[in-house]
Symmetry: C2
Subunit: 325 residues, 2 copies
């Protein structure tokens, strides 16, 4: 993988770019080690490095499939750079108000990030998603234009364990509070709003944190914030999984998990901006983008949980997000 | 269900509208009867009628789930009418060049159609999809603006049986040839192009026929063409299913079927115009739109069939569509 040496750009954020990439490389290995320790036997992640060729950049996908604990778990890092054509710039302008440019403008860009999705077998152990990324643009003369961080982490249980939700949210609140106590409430709300499956009027999971276009702190401080968020995930998710992964489960519970995974697929394929953008971008690696999809999923026509059941308990929370901490 | 009596519009195509709706009501029952006969035991389709309330219209969804032969089979009819807001008109203008109207124009519309998706359990029995619809618009003064028919039918096997593909295509070619021998080649090609999973560079299945914006014949003759296409489906798909539904299969074949169904989900959620349009339309019935999704599906990271295997044989055809007749 040539992704350590193929940056040939110059900007005041040179060192941030480099250090963000080092951070995600390090965190990919730490997360994979934590998950391999949970698997416990000799199961190892498969590692695939890939390059974007002429388009510039590359990445490493690490994956476990049909493991003892994890039905599917993928941890990707990628680094891409090149020129955003005017059409892509105008698509981004909807989301990134700072990209306020004349129509028809091309931009040079650099982006790197880590993203992961973990689907355990056991319906009592939650699915999770995490993504942290850094983005920079320059105008055509090479003048730095804008930069931002984005990302977050969220939990998608099939069965609600309020103590797990609290543990996950508390860890992320603690990480953000170290930087600014106003961040957690904003990022928690943003997460609930982003992961809303609009056509179902329910959220994908019980939330976490989400942010985008973040440049309120200087880059140095933002980088530290991202590192603290990574650590919040490492402190909470593996512990929650260990607690739930051997819970006895029934066929009916497994069936409910399949239905919830169907909803996960609906969100990712219909609504997730990253997936939509990736699938429409020439030269992107489809297998890495769709690594987020579960090994198994299902759709049951017009399914409604029994009133008072644990399935309905979850659905209530997805329809009315809770302040966990 | 009030969908027989709630049309309160007037146009020169009054009788076509009424007769198309009668046709799809009749064909829904014929198709359901053919599928119930294949199930063979006492399994009956569940029938749900629904109304669009203030928006105008309604429909009937008929469904079998976890049957003996069919894992999931849904046959929907619907009839909707009302006012298309300017935004929806401009979305449609991309597809329907005849809707060439000043920006900001609203349109009255009427639409009715039948759509079905059938997913058998047996990996040797193909999934199929069919949809025929009729559409009319009026301008704000009530003056008829345009009308067209659209639809088609296609086959999605997990394992290739060339004789099944030929039988399905031949039946549809025969139906179209009765009206004009130029139709089948055009509609066959249109089908291969429409059901291309762009990000995979493979078609969803082995094709069939697809057309849209069709007003080349008078409405009377178009209606007869649609009826003949319905009959082509009824002559071919049930016979193909009976031939394959008891073929012995292995776990590996079942796994391949799950992967193919994952691709089916990708097409429907990412690319299918009808699904995208439906999920974004307020007041639409999500359960009927997503009835097309399989009961079970799966995603395997970076899956490639063995060279020379039957799985690879199918993939070759999906990457290089064949002239079956």
């Amino acid at each position: 993988m040539a992704i350590d040496s193929d940056i040939n750009l110059s900007s005041p954020n040179d060192s941030i770019r480099q250090r963000m990439f080092e951070l995600i490389q390090r965190k990919q290995l730490e997360i994979v080690a934590a998950l391999e320790a949970i698997e416990g036997n000799d199961t190892k992640f498969r590692s695939d490095s890939w390059e974007r060729g002429a388009e510039g950049g590359g990445g490493r996908s690490m994956l476990i499939q049909d493991g003892r604990v994890f039905e599917k778990a993928g941890v990707n890092i990628s680094k891409v750079h090149g020129v955003l054509p005017p059409q892509a710039v105008s698509q981004m302008r909807n989301d990134h108000s700072k990209l306020d440019l004349p129509a028809g403008t091309s931009l040079k860009f650099f982006a790197c990030g880590l993203s992961l999705v973990i689907h355990p077998h056991n319906p009592h152990a939650p699915t999770t998603h995490l993504n942290y990324r850094y983005f920079e643009t320059w105008d055509e003369t090479g003048k730095p234009h804008t930069w931002w961080f984005g990302g977050g982490a969220d939990l998608t249980p099939s069965y609600l364990y309020p103590e797990d939700a609290k543990q996950f949210h508390q860890a992320h609140k603690d990480a953000l509070d170290k930087h600014d106590v106003s961040l957690y409430p904003r990022f928690k709300k943003w997460c609930d709003e982003y992961f809303l499956i609009k056509h179902r009027n329910e959220t994908r999971g019980i939330g976490g944190i989400f942010f985008d276009d973040f440049d309120e702190f200087d880059a140095e401080r933002s980088l530290k914030l991202v590192e603290d968020c990574f650590n919040a995930f490492l402190e909470s998710y593996p512990a929650i999984t260990r607690k739930r992964m051997d819970t006895p489960s029934t066929d009916a519970e497994k069936n409910w998990q399949q239905i919830r995974r169907g909803r996960y697929v609906e969100f990712n394929l219909v609504l997730d901006r990253g997936t939509q953008f990736g699938l429409r971008t020439p030269g992107s690696r489809v297998e890495s983008i769709l690594m987020s999809l579960p090994r198994t999923a299902g759709w049951v026509y017009d399914h409604h949980p029994e009133p008072g059941s644990r399935e309905e308990e979850l659905l209530q929370v997805l329809q009315n997000p809770i302040e966990w901490v």
